[in-house]
């Protein structure tokens, strides 16, 4: 086996894991604390990408694009939370599922109306365009930027959740929702803050991946399902669980896609292997979730005290 | 002869031992009261007896039968039934439907797909009889939520009785009841002794002393005393550990 290839795939798996983590951090917190299933998280992922693309092309600066993308997502998240999401906290999961599915439809059409159906490419500054050598491995610099950013965010979240008062409240909320009321916290403000932070992280994920895949309509709708798989596997409400599970899924998905056909070809015809492999690697993630749910219904790292 | 018996029942949560080697024995047709301060492990013990929680070690016997491995529904069918500290009802059902469902649960499996359950005379008659015993017959057609707190407690007991239990565990049946309601319930429970054996967890000491034939005291998960009520209540260690504090 070619070890450079394996290493490259490992980096790719890491990158997918990071993206999933950015998406899942907010999802698992809103789920754990507010008990909210939020499909429309996918829309913030998309909107972050489109805002960044629009601003980058307009101001001819990726950095400005990123800042505007994040700020815009935050403002939008604030409005959506105040006007719609806050009314859903006390509803059952079914209502939340349907209402936020409605939000996805609205957001997708809205983006189509504003930016057209084409999707947008984001040009990267020259510094990020090139290649970086790591030993014998040559990787696109920008991939390293994504991975680095992701780890910084993960560390930042770890600090926020474990070392600050806000984090203490978040942990308390994730493990025992009733406790928040008894602590005399302004629950509404905390909920808004968590929702906005989550949305901005999703937007960050979207705008980071957009220079690679382009910003396109509905770009978040497929990854959101994987993201839910991640938070279920990780344990709802657990940042640590989300991180571990995101990495796990990132690696399984990437390695499955890259090597499953080779592995299958060992014991079946090459043609069958090449068509069966993509399907099986797509199923892998769900099989893993089903197994984990049966074995540990609360996920790998359930928040304590629940 | 003991109808319900535990041997060395132990349950730990993390570092906390909720019940510590509890060996308890209930005699037939008697009211056995279980008392102890808050957090003594009474509810955990009930949960292990009912099968809601599995013990870390120890055994539970119903009559001669070891039921430690049975799950909750199986224990109920074997004759061990409970009520809940906080009323646990079917809120969208009417009062009659609540009891009728309990009767249905007792009368065997429910894999009957065709006939309308609401028109089943056997179920409704038995339900109405039970409601009459508990004095709730005039409320049979209202939904369970619209009952007063005391009435909900009574419905709770009616539902448990529908299971025809050989042992009935009552988790604080008087909680939140007025004095008048309490004394009515005490009278009712006295009459039940002839049909069943009662395990009574209660904080209301007047009720306990009015009803209990036997008495067990649980402190910090340990059974510190168990025996005939009149003797146990006078024991100095019991007074020190529990009765003295609350008195």
């Amino acid at each position: 086996m070619d070890w450079t290839l394996v290493l490259t795939q490992a980096l790719n798996g890491l990158q997918l894991g990071i993206l999933l983590f950015l998406l899942c951090a907010g999802l698992t917190l809103t789920f754990g604390i507010m008990d909210l299933i939020n499909l429309s998280h996918a829309s913030f992922y998309m909107i972050g990408a489109f805002l960044c693309a629009g601003a980058t092309l307009h101001f001819d600066s990726f950095l400005v694009g990123v800042l505007i993308g994040l700020a815009g997502t935050a403002v939008l998240a604030f409005i959506v939370e105040k006007s719609i999401i806050s009314k859903l906290y006390k509803r059952d999961h079914l209502d939340q599922l349907l209402a936020t599915f409605g939000l996805i439809l609205i957001a997708d059409t809205g983006v189509h109306l504003v930016w057209g159906p084409a999707g947008m490419a984001i040009p990267l500054p020259d510094v990020l365009q090139g290649q970086t050598s790591v030993g014998s491995l040559v990787v696109p610099t920008y991939r390293l930027v994504i991975i680095g950013t992701g780890f910084l965010i993960a560390i930042g979240l770890y600090w926020l959740v474990n070392k600050t008062r806000t984090g203490m409240l978040i942990r308390a909320g994730a493990s025992n929702r009733q406790m928040l009321n008894t602590l005399g916290v302004n629950v509404q403000v905390l909920f808004s803050a968590v929702f906005i932070i989550g949305a901005v992280l999703a937007g960050l994920g979207g705008l980071l991946i957009a220079p690679i895949t382009e910003a396109s309509i509905g770009m978040g709708n497929d990854i959101i399902i994987t993201a839910f798989v991640v938070i279920i596997i990780g344990g709802i409400g657990s940042i640590k669980g989300a991180f571990v599970a995101a990495m796990l899924i990132g690696f399984i998905d990437t390695f499955g896609r890259a090597f499953l056909d080779t592995i299958f070809a060992l014991f079946m015809s090459v043609d069958v292997a090449e068509t069966a492999a993509p399907a099986v690697s797509a199923i892998l993630v769900y099989v893993l979730m089903a197994i984990i749910l049966v074995w540990r219904p609360q996920g790998l790292f359930p928040p304590k005290l629940r | 002869m003991s109808v319900l018996r535990t041997e060395q029942l132990t349950k730990r949560f993390g570092g906390v031992t909720a019940t510590d080697s509890v060996s308890l024995s209930l005699s037939e047709h008697r009211v056995h009261a279980l008392i102890g301060p808050n957090g003594a492990g009474k509810t955990t013990l009930i949960a292990q007896l009912s099968g809601e929680l599995a013990p870390d070690s120890g055994q539970v016997f119903l009559g001669d039968k070891n039921i430690t491995k049975l799950n909750e529904p199986a224990r109920v069918r074997a004759g061990l039934c409970r009520t809940f500290q906080i009323s646990s009802l079917f809120h969208q059902f009417s009062v009659r439907e609540n009891v009728a469902f309990s009767v249905q649960a007792e009368s065997g499996h429910s894999y009957r797909f065709w006939s309308k359950v609401a028109n089943n005379k056997t179920l409704n008659t038995r339900a109405d009889n039970l409601l009459e015993t508990l004095g709730l017959l005039d409320k049979a057609n209202v939904t369970a939520t619209s009952l007063s707190h005391g009435e909900q407690r009574q419905l709770e007991i009616a539902m448990a009785l529908a299971s025809k239990p050989s042992v009935l565990m009552l988790d604080e049946p008087m909680a939140g009841m007025g004095a008048e309601e309490s004394s009515r319930l005490i009278e009712l429970l006295k009459t039940l002794k002839s049909e069943t054996t009662l395990l009574l967890v209660e904080h209301d000491m007047d009720a306990v002393f009015a009803l209990a034939d036997d008495l067990s005291v649980l402190v910090n998960g340990c059974l510190i005393a168990s025996g005939v009520a009149a003797e146990v209540r006078t024991r100095p260690d019991v007074i020190d550990a529990y009765l003295g504090v609350s008195a």
């Binding site: 189509h112 159906p117 999707g119 490419a121 696109p140 220079p211 396109s216 509905g218 896609r257 | -």
Partner: protein, 395 residues
């Protein structure tokens, strides 16, 4: 009670709404993708069709006509549903359009069953060119295998010995791979079929890493629509230009070039692809079409637009021959089969399976006189080529 009645009334109104009659004499249904990412192609086709309508002044064979556009939403079942609607509710005379092979395969029977004519302005799956060919089916594009076969020849001509190939995992994707395999004389060192559909895979990093490690002389890809742009970006970022020369089929076109230029993807300038057409194809009708399109929309048309433009003009030629009377399907077939119109590809001739017999060219990405990127023909790869499936067709 009042609300029950109001609701029933509302439902009745909803049913009655579409009863308003359409005015034109001839109705042509046009099924394409107008929402989701695929709408980029659909919009180009619609623009080209509207240009043709404008040039014909909404008249063919002396009768007025109108085009009813329907959106397939990028899904076969929706495509089929709107096709049924065009046939059964709008009562159109001819149905045209269809970008995607799978949408066409799901839909064409709805048309042929009603004994009406269907004209594909893009999709050309092998089944419908061969075994399942139908007298009521016509194409103004190509059979899926032809362009990749031209690619195989192009690769042979350029001295490529080992090839890595990538395509999406759907009918056309597989046809493309099969087509290159048919004519390419070197060795395949690897191929990847990636997830397609509404949630298509757009991150090709894993596959590109494999391609790079394979040590191939060339990388041939087929990624239509938005996936094409995403692929090119990653090809460039992975630093493969210069290392692994790129050959594309229906991946880079007039729709993606402006975007790629804006994003400075200059690694692709000079890369080659095979096609039956390019904006600079030296045919008078084509020059006129490209000029008019640029005049009206301010951009180059894509081959999708060119094919759609041909489809409308083909229909118009039949209408002229029949005096605008489409009631007899046998006569319509006859008239269409003659292909008596000024095609953007010059001479136009149908094979026995109603697929065009045509030339294929190598074309290269260049900057035009204004500095805008476009494609330009460098050589003819296949001449008067008929698809291989025509032999399986019993017509």
């Amino acid at each position: 009670m009042k609300k029950t009645i109001a609701l029933s009334a509302a439902l009745t109104c909803a049913c009655a709404l579409p009863l308003a009659a359409n005015a034109a004499d001839i109705k042509i249904g046009f099924v394409t993708t107008l929402t989701t990412g695929g709408a980029v192609i659909g919009n180009d086709m619609r623009d080209a069709v509207n240009l043709a309508v404008e040039q014909l002044d909404s008249k063919m064979g002396g009768k007025s006509f109108e085009i009813l556009f329907e959106d397939d939403g990028f899904k076969p079942e929706i495509g089929k549903q709107v096709t049924e609607k065009l046939i059964k509710e709008d009562n159109v005379d001819i149905v045209a359009g269809y970008i995607w092979s799978n949408v066409l395969m799901a839909s064409y029977k709805s048309v042929t069953r009603a004994d009406k004519v269907i004209i594909s302005a893009n999709a050309g799956p092998s089944a419908i060119a061969g075994k399942l060919c139908n007298e009521n089916f016509f194409s103004t594009s190509w059979q899926n295998n032809q362009t990749p076969m031209a690619m195989g020849e192009l690769l042979n001509a350029r001295g490529v010995k080992s090839l890595y190939m990538m395509a999406p995992n759907y009918a056309a994707g597989k046809d493309m791979v099969a087509g290159v395999e048919r004519s390419f004389k070197g060795e395949f060192v690897g191929k990847d079929l990636t997830k397609w559909g509404a949630d298509a895979q757009l991150d090709f990093s894993a596959e590109l890493a494999k391609a790079k490690a394979s040590g191939a002389d060339g990388l041939a890809v087929f990624y239509p629509g938005k996936a094409g742009g995403a692929f090119i970006q990653q090809y460039q970022q992975a630093g493969l230009n210069g290392v692994l020369p790129l050959y594309t089929i229906f991946t880079i076109d007039s729709l993606s070039l402006p975007k790629l230029q804006e994003a400075n993807m200059d690694g692709i300038v000079g890369s080659e692809m095979s096609s039956f057409w390019a904006p600079d194809l030296d045919v008078p009708a084509n020059k006129a079409f490209v000029a008019a399109f640029k005049e009206k929309y301010g951009r180059y048309p894509s081959h999708y637009g060119a094919q759609s433009y041909d489809a409308i003009n083909l229909i118009a030629s039949a209408a002229d021959a029949l005096g605008g009377d489409f009631s007899d399907t046998a006569k319509v077939r006859e008239a269409l089969k003659k292909a008596d119109f000024d095609s953007i590809r010059g001479d136009f001739e149908f094979g026995n399976n109603h697929m065009p017999i045509q030339n294929f060219y190598a074309r290269k990405i260049v900057a035009d006189e204004n500095g805008d990127w476009t494609t330009s023909i460098t050589k003819t790869v296949l001449e008067n080529h008929q698809d291989v499936f025509a032999a399986e067709c019993k017509l």
